[in-house]
Symmetry: none
Subunit: 259 residues, 2 copies
């Protein structure tokens, strides 16, 4: 039996909103340590890997491993039925047909319950190797989101060029080109505002803005995004959950014609 209670419904709402535009159906794998999801988007280009750690719940109990095959669109509708600050509890039996979502107002004068029918979804559970990356960037997630949104107007690809002392995002399109250059710096007062670059080798990689546009839907999950890059290797875009866990997106770079 699974019983997981969030102190704020908004956390689960943000998580689901962060992935539901990439992935329509996915399995929630519940274990004693928390809930994980792994899924690829419809075009099989973007890999989503979520861990909601046990510590992200105010109460959590999962005696035996349980898989919940969920239609994220329906689930998202249910989650919107709560208020952000409500308690949210997920309940499921050991071999469930349904998952129950319960909202409780903190004044306890209102309780709403929604039952969602589960689906059988087959998915290979992908083993993701810990890679060595040439470059790791930490930056404010909102700033990254704005760059992606802005440059999406110009073309379909975004190139990220990292050198020892700068990160450059550029996009070239029909009607013009655009670029944003960031210098690493540390804001002592607001560390979240810092831009940090750890680099063992310069990189120059190009990504599809369509997928980056999906990735930045997760901006609300964390003030900081970590981007790990290496030549000819899927890039890792990571949002850490304050409460414990992460949402990671793996996206292969576009290859140059002369490769």
């Amino acid at each position: 039996m699974l019983e997981g209670k969030f102190d704020e419904a908004s956390l689960l709402k943000k998580i689901v909103d962060s992935i539901k535009d990439s992935v329509k159906l996915c399995n929630f794998n519940c274990t004693e340590h928390g809930i994980t999801v792994q899924a690829v988007d419809d075009s099989r280009v973007l890999l989503v890997s979520l861990l909601v750690g046990q510590s992200a719940f105010s109460e959590y109990r999962c005696d035996r491993d349980i898989t919940l095959g969920i239609d994220l669109e329906s689930f998202s509708k249910i989650i919107k039925c709560g208020n952000n600050e409500d308690y949210l509890t997920l309940l499921a039996e050991d071999s469930p047909d349904n998952v129950m979502t319960i909202f409780e107002d903190k004044k306890k004068e209102r309780v709403s319950e929604y039952s969602l029918k589960l689906m059988d979804i087959d998915s290979e559970f992908l083993k993701i190797d810990d890679m060595d990356y040439d470059t790791v960037i930490n930056m404010p997630s909102a700033e990254f989101a704005k760059i992606v949104r802005d440059l999406k107007n110009l073309s379909e690809s975004l190139t990220i060029i990292v050198t020892k002392d700068s990160v450059k995002f550029t996009s070239e399109g029909e009607s013009g080109t655009g670029s944003v250059v960031l210098k690493p710096f540390t804001d002592m007062d607001k560390p979240e505002e810092s831009v940090k670059v750890a680099l063992s080798m310069p990189v120059n990689l190009t990504f599809g803005l369509k997928y980056l546009g999906d990735i930045i839907k997760a901006t609300g999950l964390s003030g900081v995004i970590t981007i790990k890059l290496a030549d000819k290797t899927p890039a890792l875009f990571e949002y850490k959950l304050d409460a414990g866990g992460y949402l990671r997106f793996y996206l292969a770079p576009k290859f140059d014609e002369d490769d």
Copy 2:
């Protein structure tokens, strides 16, 4: 001759917006006491009853009873031509072909006038009996609206079950079910937030969510909705106008198959 002046055009705008999705054409019956409207929606299931009391106007005069047959869609377009905080005056002759809508900026630097052609609309004026109801619920109108919006995602019907110490709203659909349970309580500081139940007999009634969806368009008119229920009797959903008057919707419950 009718001359009715609203201190804020927004009041009339809210009123018209509250009913124009239920009713396309209706008679505005103007008497010395104010303006009333009674109409049924196209499917003749939902009855709308409006009273804009004389006190809701900053100036009001109506020597003889006048009937204004109005196309609400056109009227709504006219009303949107003013600013919310403008004065709005309705003018009509004793046997009018037109009604004039006049907006005045409060600084008196702008006056706009719109004339709307009237229509001949036949409508039985329905005598609505004062019913005895088994249950009266008072609750925040916004909360009722959210429940209707949320449960509308699940199915086409909403069941309201009232007992001595709870009000339960439930809906069952293909992909899942949902329910919201409210406990009556009184908020001393914000009485509008209270949920009150006066019950002489428990009720269990089912309504079409389509119509409830129309009813909650009136949410802006009042912070509180009063719902009066009795078995096999049209339910009354009432929004009181702060300035004097009310907007009431009468909706027959769906009947069980075994009735």
